[in-house]
């Protein structure tokens, strides 16, 4: 650690028991022909309430300005900062260092295209998935934009909103053994969206239409129920319930 960073993290007086954290961070720049994938080690002194967002910014500001990682909201809403934290996908901004051992290994999410170091292009993957699964409201009639929107039962709106909380961070995809093995698998994020539009009364597609989109081995029948998605989802979405529900509906539609 540099002298400068010690001055800016006054922990020793107020927190005599603070830990020395060791960060092993994956480094690789695909745009640099001379770059080789490897892990760099950085050390930091832990402060109260330190998140990985704070730690990574300190490392970038004070130790290595070339370190690449993504953050936008710092509040678990934008989904930009998902990464492998000691092997498991999670949001860096919502992960307190105090919940981790003193050696913290950070790597980019697998499956997604690597931009550099910890930064991956989840947007490209999500866009492709959305186009494949047509994740928008389908209606036969032209909507009248001047008319009052049809009322929806509050309970149904709640149900849809619960699934709409997905922030497309990619944790469920990176935590899924099937998605890691088979790149065409749509993942829990895609299947959750299908469940969401199936609930929506404004979407006029029936189960036959949904079956055409996800009734195959890269869709709902590819899910092997490893439940990595359910266990790593930072928004605690009810993914097992949705996957089982879709499997029953699609199996019934398909036989």
């Amino acid at each position: 650690m540099t002298q400068d960073s010690k001055q800016r993290i006054p922990v020793n007086e107020s927190e005599p028991n603070s830990r020395q954290l060791t960060f092993e961070i994956f480094r690789f720049n695909p745009l640099d022909p001379g770059s080789e994938p490897h892990f760099d080690t950085f050390t930091l002194e832990e402060t109260a309430g330190m998140t990985l967002f704070i730690a990574l910014n300190l490392i970038r500001e004070e130790q290595d300005p070339s370190l690449q990682f993504d953050f936008v909201c710092r509040a678990g809403i934008c989904g930009s900062c998902a990464m492998l934290i000691n092997g498991r996908p999670d949001l860096a901004c919502r992960t307190l260092t105090q919940a981790l051992p003193s050696t913290i290994r950070l790597a980019p999410l697998p499956v997604f295209e690597l931009i550099g170091d910890l930064s991956v292009n989840t947007g490209k993957w999500m866009h492709g998935m959305s186009e494949r699964l047509q994740t928008w409201v389908h209606t036969e009639t032209e909507p009248d934009l001047d008319a009052m929107e049809a009322a929806m039962e509050p309970a149904l709106a709640e149900q849809i909103y619960e699934l709409e909380r997905c922030i497309e961070c990619g944790c469920c995809v990176a935590g899924c053994g099937t998605a890691v093995m088979r790149e065409a698998f749509v993942g829990a994020v895609g299947l959750n969206k299908m469940a969401r539009f199936r609930l929506d009364p404004r979407d006029e597609r029936d189960d036959g239409a949904f079956y055409e989109l996800i009734g195959h081995d890269d869709g709902i029948f590819g899910c092997m129920s490893l439940m990595g998605c359910q266990d790593v989802c930072p928004k605690a979405l009810p993914l097992q319930t949705q996957l089982a529900f879709l499997r029953r509906k699609m199996a019934f539609a398909g036989i």
Binding site: L84, G87, R88, P110, G175, G177, V180, M181, R182, D206, D207, G208, A209, Y211, E212, G215, H216, D217, G219, F221, C223, M224, S225, L226, M227, G228, Q230, D231, P238, Q240, T241, L243, A244, F245, R247, R248, M250, A251, A253, G254, I255
Partner: protein
Amino acid sequence: MSSIPSNSRWPARLDLLQSASGLALALFMWVHMFLVSSILISNDAMYAVAKLFEGYYVFGRSYPWLVSAAAAAILVLIMLHAALALRKFPQSTRQYQLFLGHKNRMHHPDTTLWWWQVVTGFLLFFLAPMHLFGMFSQPDQIGPYASSYRVYSTHWPLYLILLFAVELHGAIGLYRLAIKWLSFPTMPVPVMRKRLSLLKWGMSAFFIILGLCTLLAYYRLGSTLQDQPGERYHPVTQSQCPTNSEVLS
């Protein structure tokens, strides 16, 4: 509902068939273990079970070919389940590397359990037919003495590995079936999964312990029969079970 082309329906049918064949096999294996463990009650109890499956209590005489037919049916069911499950196996070196890397990084119990299902399933491709062909080709060689002699003299290593492979594969499979198909509206998913997982481990442990006790019982009985290969068991309760001469007639 908009029509689904016939070709597109196969993924749904195959998925259902894989689950249904797995469910049938797992439940059969539990019933099978209870029947085999009748040796722990008495030799007569095991003899009665063997005669039951030869149709003695229905037809008044034994038809060992009924056991052959049952063994053949189970083998077909296993072949069906194996063919369907093979679709889920990793298909290339790359896929094995990707999955094993993922499993070793994640330290996630359900992901690790799936790997054990792959390993035990692969073992069962070979071990289950070894046992089933014996039952198919020598259906009359099932009984307290004949089975014990077989266990002690040659088959105990096969049955020992089969026991662990089947009881792990089956219980993990049933747990996965519940997660795959059922929703639990009255209980948070993590709570229900924890309970199902406990039940799964409990069932595996129960059947492995029961199986080990059973195997030991056959082994010990078999060790007393080494001088009498081919010796058949004569039931103590003659009025309820046929004699050997009846069986052979």
